[in-house]
Every structure is written in C-alpha cells, then in structure tokens.
Amino acid sequence: MKIAVVDPQPERADVIEAGLREAGYRDIHRIAEMPGLLERLSELAPDVILIDLENPSRDVLEQMFEVSRLVSRPIAMFVDESDMSMIEAAVEAGVGAYVVDGMKKERIKAILATAITRFNTFSRLQSELQATKAALSERKVIDRAKGILMKAKGLSEEEAYALLRKTAMGQSRKLSEIAQSVVTAAEMLS
C-alpha cells in the first residue's frame, strides 16, 4: 500500500506520517513542493493520496481525473454517502483523500481514520501552542505594566496588580488590554 502525503507544512506531515507508521503502513511518501505535483504523483503512482482540504492545490489533483490515462483513475474520498459520519469527520478535521479505484472500502476507512485522528492531533497541538504563547506574552505585558506602576506611583507589586484589576473591571476590559495600554502610554511618554 503506497501512501502519498501532500503537505507543504513539514510539522503536520511529521504527525501524519508517524500516525500511519504506527498503524503499520510502511510505504509513505511526502510531497511538500506544489509545483510539479502532478509529475511527482504520476511517477509515484500511490494507492492513496492524503491532502489538507485547505490546500488550494487540491484543484490540481482534479486534473488527474480529466484524462484517465495520466494515472490510474483515483476517486475522491467522497465515494458514496453511506458513511456520512466519516465524511463529516474528515471534512471537520480538514483531510482530503484520493483513493485508486477498486480498493476495498475497509482498507480506505482504516487509513482515513488514522489520517483524521492525526489531523485532529495536529490542530490540537497547534491551538495548545498558540494558547501557551498568548498566555506567556500576556503575562509578560502584565509584569511590565506592574513594574511601570510600581516605579511611577511608588506602589508595591500587590498594589500595582490590584490597580490594574480594578481599572480593568471598571472598564469591563481584559486585564491584559489595560496592561498593554499602560505599557504603550509609558513607551510614548518616555
């Protein structure tokens, strides 16, 4: 079973490839470059192609169906409507799959299930990473604002924090927004 993973994002391709290997697939090929995509695929002649649904190069793959002699005629993931829940899961996870005609449905499902799980794992990792980054930068801004208030008004750290909180509550804004205003104002006045 030859599987091609078309993904310009190496981090996600890593996650997908690792998942497929864990599931026992060995013949996995990664394509990161979009120019020359069709040539690469017709050389490879994979049984299954996995692609991110947000990748506009999905339309390039459609050219393969235009002329069936180019590669053995693959069919889109959306083979029939009998398994809507899997189709929905795939769309939600953002996985597109192309499968060579004639392959057993159970085999397709196994691969697709792995790909869906891995795509979801990757987006969860991404959003965790973003949340952590955002939290860290917010904390930094709050620390800087506290420092500015302590220096300017001779407050203790607790008092500076209490003042930021009180102002944020009074204006129904986020603590980090008030802190950012303090930092910006201090930068302008310095």
């Binding site: 979009m34 120019p35 069709l38 649904l53 947000e54 990748n55 506009p56 190069s57 999905r58 339309d59 390039v60 793959l61 459609e62 050219q63 169906f65 235009e66 002329v67 180019l70 069919i75 889109a76 993931m77 959306f78 083979v79 029939d80 409507e81 809507m84 189709i87 929905e88 769309v91 597109g96």
Partner: protein, 417 residues
C-alpha cells in the same frame, strides 16, 4: 426575523460580488434569509461540500454543476443552477517574456483586434518554443471551467498544438502569480482580480479580456443539489429574490466604489479595493507600464438578463467538454445536461416578484451583433451583443452539427491536455 438559513460557499474572486452584496447590503435579510457565506480554498471543496450537504449551495464555475451531473471528476450528483452570478469577467494574460516575443500586446482597434492578438500570440509562442524546445505552459483554474474552454478555443484558433507547442495545466488562482514569477507559467486565463494582481506585480500583460473572445459568456452560477432545491423551495425562492436585488444594485456603476470596498475586506478578497474596482468598471490596467483598457461588458452582473440561466449556456458548455475530450457525446448525457440549468425555477421565483423575464429559455448563442430587443413579459428586455470573435454560431438544437463542423475544420478539437 429570518425564516430561512442558507450556507453558501464561495471562492474569493471579484465575481462573488452578488453573493457578498446580498449579505452585506441586507438584501438577503430583507427576504428573511440568514445568508452565511463560507470562504473556500478550492473548487473541489466547493463541489464536495455541496454534494454532501455541508453547504446548501455555492458560487460555482458554470461548467461545475454539469460536470457533477455527468459524474466527471467525482461521483455523479444531481446538481442544478437556477441563477447566473455573472457573465464574463475573465482575461488571458501572458508573461512579460512572452509579451515581448509577441512584439507587444497593444491591441488593434475594431473587430479584428482579437484575431490580431491571437496571431501575435501564436507568433510569440512559436518563437519561444523554438528557443526552448519544450511546450509553453498556460494555467487555468480548474479542468471544468470556461477559462479552460475559452483558452483552448483561442489556442486552437491560433493554430497552436496542445501537447507539443503549448500545455494547459490547472493552477489555483492565488498561486498563478507565484507560478508566473517562478517561470513555471507563460500565461493564463483566470478571473479577476488575478490578472490585475499579476500586472501590478510587474509580471504579466493582459492580452485579451474574455469578453473579446465571447461577448456574453456565462461564468459563475449558483449551484445547488437538486434534492435541496426542490424540497426547500420557499428558502430557494427567497434567496433568488435577494440575489436578484443584489445583482441590480451591484451592476450599477455608482455602487462600484462601495462594492469594491466591501469585497476588499479581510473576510472576502483581502486585497486593495482599487484593484477590485477595475474589473467592476471594466477599466483595466493592461500592462506594468500603466496602459489602460476600457471594456464595456468586461464583467456583467445583471443587465441584459445576465442572471437568467439560459439552457443553451449549458449545452454550449457540454459541447466544449466533448470537444476537449472530457466526455463522449451521447443522447443520454445530453438529456442529463438539459436538467442542469433551471430557467423554470428562475421564472417561478422571480416572475411573481415582477422581474422582466425573457419569453424563451434557450437561444442561439453568438447570433446577436448588437443590442437587440427580445420578446419578454414587460417588453423592455434587450440582449446582446453576444458574438464569438470567430463568428461561430451555436444553435442548441444543432449540437451534433456543431460538433461535426468543429471536428471537420480541425479547429474543433481543443486538445485532450
């Protein structure tokens, strides 16, 4: 209070204008439709999400619902198109290297302009082909698109051989400019704003607006699943009324500044409004040195019954699919194609709303050399001009003759790839 909800997919292009106006100017809300517009990154996604009911409908290339019905490129689905979102709006552009080999792209005035441009294109392609020894590459956005058929028609007319002298490949529009920059493309046929973006990036010159190839070509349609369209007629009709009002508004020149500002927003095209406005006004910057071109019907959103889903449009598209070798002609397929464009739904939705409707549902394409009054309910409808640059006439009742004639001239085959 909205009684209806519709999720409609779109690709960020200037010709999503009517859908965007329907939502942003509250034409949809006024008809009780909560219109949710979902931006998509590929035509394949659009097709699949409509086919599987994740969207109620979408901004589709006019050939897409036909390809869906015939099962080309995916499993067959019964798609219908009851409303045309725009007529025209494409252009053929070439790289600066090819423009130079053509001896410039400045068009001659008058009706011979297209023929002259194509003769120059052929000379330029051959000159570069001699130098390189490999075919030149032209990009189109999708295999089933009027861009592909218009470009192939032009290349065939210019006597260029697909496969040996030129190749036509699919390149997603947002990647066209990069492909040109990387030297992977020598030209393309694409919708706006991508021609203008390439000109502004100093990479391309516009050779021919689509309107100079066929003066009245269907471009995008509202594509839906037949099953949904028939079982949700109240919602569909309310949506069509909203789209009609949005199209009337969007087609008026005095609204183009506002419309281009709205389309420029991050949720839609996320590009400068000035670039978007060029297509709406038909005032294009043709080359990086700033040469201007004015084309009256560059993009038609409503006038001349532009939103009417003429069945003959679908039949013309089917004929191009056959010419391009994408599908073999059969009476059963022809019958299936006749079910796709739905003037009956258009009439049922917009007739009671007082919209002037043409008397016929099919017409001979390419027969009108000027603006011509036609039979309509209120008697105030003008159509045309709708000529093809090469004088072709397409009679929807003579499809077999058209295909035979196209084959006999040797210019009929659009090249299989």
């Amino acid at each position: 209070m909205s009684r209806h909800h519709a999720r409609i997919g779109f690709i960020p292009l200037v010709d999503a204008a009517v859908l965007v106006a329907a939502r942003e100017l509250d034409f949809a809300a006024a008809e009780g439709v909560d219109l949710e517009l979902c931006r998509e990154s590929s035509w394949s996604n659009i097709r699949d999400k409509v086919a599987f009911g994740l969207f109620e409908g979408a901004h589709m290339l006019a050939p897409m619902p036909i390809a869906m019905r015939l099962g080309l490129g995916s499993v067959a689905h019964d798609a219908v198109a009851p409303f045309v979102l725009n007529v025209n709006g494409n252009a053929i552009s070439v790289s600066r290297e090819l423009a130079e080999a053509m001896g410039g792209t400045r068009p001659a005035p008058g009706p011979a302009a297209t023929l002259q441009a194509l003769a120059a294109l052929a000379a330029g392609v051959r000159a570069l082909h001699r130098r390189r020894g490999v075919p030149l590459t032209f990009g189109v956005p999708f295999p089933f698109s009027c861009h592909a058929y218009e470009l192939r028609h032009c290349l065939a007319h210019a006597g260029l051989e697909t496969g040996s002298e030129v190749e036509v490949v699919v390149v997603p529009p947002p990647l066209m400019v990069d492909a040109l920059r990387a030297g992977k493309l020598d030209g393309f046929c694409v919708g706006e704003p991508w021609n203008s973006v390439a000109v502004d990036a100093d990479l391309a010159e516009i050779v021919l607006p689509g309107a100079r190839v066929w003066q009245f070509a269907p471009e995008k349609v509202l594509g839906l699943r037949q099953e949904w369209a028939e079982s949700n007629q109240d919602t569909l009709f309310a949506l069509l009324r909203a789209l009609h009002k949005a199209a009337v508004w969007a087609d008026r020149p005095e609204n183009h500044v506002t419309l281009s500002e709205i389309l420029a927003r991050e949720a839609y095209l996320d590009l400068p409004a000035e670039v978007i406005e060029r297509a709406l006004n038909g005032r294009l910057t043709m080359s990086p040195d700033g040469r201007q071109g004015h084309f009256e019907d560059f993009l038609v959103l409503q006038r001349k019954a532009a939103t009417f889903p003429w069945r003959s449009f679908a039949l013309w598209i089917y004929a191009q699919m056959v010419r391009a070798g994408q599908v073999g002609h059969s009476p059963a397929r022809l019958a299936a194609v006749r079910q796709v464009f739905r003037p009956d739904l258009y009439r049922a939705a917009l007739g009671p709303a007082g919209v002037d409707l043409p008397g016929a549902s099919e017409k001979v394409e390419g027969a009108l050399t000027g603006e011509t009054p036609v039979a309509s309910r209120a008697g105030k409808l003008f159509l045309g001009p709708d000529g093809f640059f090469d004088g072709t006439v397409f009679d929807p009742n003579g499809l077999e003759d058209y295909l035979a004639a196209a084959g006999a001239t040797g210019r009929g085959l659009l090249g299989s790839r």
